[in-house]
Symmetry: none
Subunit: 204 residues, 4 copies
Amino acid sequence: MSARKRAASLPETKQHLIFEAALKVIREKGLHRARMSDIADRAGISYGLVYHYFRSKEDLFDAVLNRWWDELFALIDAVAGEGDDVRAKLGQVIRYFLDTYQQNPDLTTVFVTEISRSTANLTRDRLQHFKRFFAQMEDIIREGQRSGLLRGDFKARYLTYIFFGAMEAFVSAMVLADQPLSGDAQKEQIVESILTVFWSGASV
Amino acid sequence: MSARKRAASLPETKQHLIFEAALKVIREKGLHRARMSDIADRAGISYGLVYHYFRSKEDLFDAVLNRWWDELFALIDAVAGEGDDVRAKLGQVIRYFLDTYQQNPDLTTVFVTEISRSTANLTRDRLQHFKRFFAQMEDIIREGQRSGLLRGDFKARYLTYIFFGAMEAFVSAMVLADQPLSGDAQKEQIVESILTVFWSGASV
Amino acid sequence: MSARKRAASLPETKQHLIFEAALKVIREKGLHRARMSDIADRAGISYGLVYHYFRSKEDLFDAVLNRWWDELFALIDAVAGEGDDVRAKLGQVIRYFLDTYQQNPDLTTVFVTEISRSTANLTRDRLQHFKRFFAQMEDIIREGQRSGLLRGDFKARYLTYIFFGAMEAFVSAMVLADQPLSGDAQKEQIVESILTVFWSGASV
Amino acid sequence: MSARKRAASLPETKQHLIFEAALKVIREKGLHRARMSDIADRAGISYGLVYHYFRSKEDLFDAVLNRWWDELFALIDAVAGEGDDVRAKLGQVIRYFLDTYQQNPDLTTVFVTEISRSTANLTRDRLQHFKRFFAQMEDIIREGQRSGLLRGDFKARYLTYIFFGAMEAFVSAMVLADQPLSGDAQKEQIVESILTVFWSGASV
DNA sequence: TATGAATGAGGGTTCATTCAT
DNA sequence: AATGAATGAACCCTCATTCAT
């Protein structure tokens, strides 16, 4: 959340302008169809200038990805170091995803459509982010298993998949249908349903 | 299953050859980077012949999608009309996805990377397939709720997301890591973990 | 006229079928856009067969051109050898063009749009036809000048252009507007106007 | 004439360079055979730059057509508003065509070969230009009829065809034979012959 | 004769990137 | 910092023609 605040309070530099424009255009047209000139147009600058601030389209896209991962890892780090209530930690992760979708639907959309499953855009570097994220999620799960709350007869990795997959399905559905979260009540219902099903299903 | 068998036993017509080549190339390079010439090369035929059998790249891709959806809907229809053991039905769906990944990893990969989350390639027509699939999955879940087995205090649609998301996460993970299922034992562990967690979490 | 009769009475051989189909398709789409497969479709045969009867598209088009020129030269020869009424000869030429447009609008259209002005399709051979035609028309005009009926202070070639251009303008206008001759009365008005204006303008 | 002067004195911008190259290439090879790469080569610029200045080949061709029609309509407007000497007006039209051929043979050639009779390239928009041109020519002719100079027993439209056809035949002949006007004397002979034959033939 | 599968050269267009100003 | 002219590789698709059957 502090990460997002940092981002939001960035001065309206040209670089930031381009970044936001890229986010919007990539969301609307997809990475492949997003032309550098579209991004420049959206930012209200000449397209030559984009190259002054970003080495290439690849580079610009990486900046977008990094924004996503930086914020996510900040959240994960904060959550991991918090206490020992594993269930609450999982709840925070879900809330983070839903909050981000609410407050920054462009970024979430790009994550879902261009990163999450895209082999096309998947470089070795980018894969690392995923592995790290899953490893950290797995740590939380494993913590739950060690403390005897979560069943130990299933691999922590498997439980992680189940948890993450369940959560991501909601986000993906909203993203693909272009539907906003209709309010805090709906958000709580979603959090509750995921958390309840997962926790009572995965607990001992 | 019979659908897949039928597909697999197709005579090695040129059209089929092209289809299989397209599947491989799209899997390896992504739809956008898959050149028609790559596909022709892979099929061992001349460039123009691809256009003899498929009107366009779009058309060829649609053929791939239809293969996926046809098989999936055949499974869903078979499962839906089977009996009244909802838990078993869900198990069959999971098995279907894992089986398909095992037997046809190319097709599964294309589904995961190019269809499942791709806004870029998402036409109105293609979206319909998703809606239909989710509607049918939801019917199964609702059947479970009506019969008093699954808790009715969560929306059927939410439970569907949780179930589907959990399952898809496993497939996606294997696809993105390019890891084969290492055997029937692993497959059963996966089925068991998803089914157990979901069922005991979502049952009354 | 006899030439056309000959053409019309051709047995419905495959070759003739293809020829007629070519005429129609070239008229409708223009030579460049007329595909060999379109022609075959129109003729109701496979496109491989077209190549059995015509060496190439070029060859097929040449057959069309020859049909035009053969008929035209037959008319010119007949007219030239007729008598010494130059005015009547010119009238016959006009009537021939209008008759041909009436009875064979496809052929006339192809002449106007694809031959008459097209540098693109103009080979050295094809140019010869034009030169020959103009030479023969010029002979008729010169005959009129020698007999003292037409003024000799303008080059025969110039008078030929004026006469031919005037006449062709009517045909081109009808062709481009896709308008049929609305009857014999209209035809006579056209003949009369061209002939009267040219003759009283060009006579001594 | 001022239009042409304006065009000729255009600064040697890249756009103009491309335009002129297009004119030459289209003249030499015909629209269909004129490759965008030919045009770029002729203009001495890179391939992509053509697309920087013109949206498409169609667009570039339209620019050529507009140049033709703009100049022609400028002339017609000037002539129409001049006085009441209809014969002189017709003389000016003839002179305009011959002048244009002399000073801009490329443009005239493209008009004759690619516009004048080409159904292939004829869009609804392009047809409008023709209709407008003929309507304006017809106005002049009708003016002559109303003033009692030209015979009123022939439709104005018919006299227009005769006049325009006669004139265009000269231009077409020169274009197709790739012959330049050999001098002012020849030009005057042509003007005189067309004007004399038409006027004495069409006057009362 | 007849079919249509098979070939492959060719051309229009796109767009990331560079560079002179 | 800023512009947009300039470059050219890349790729989809068309279609005349050939050829095996």
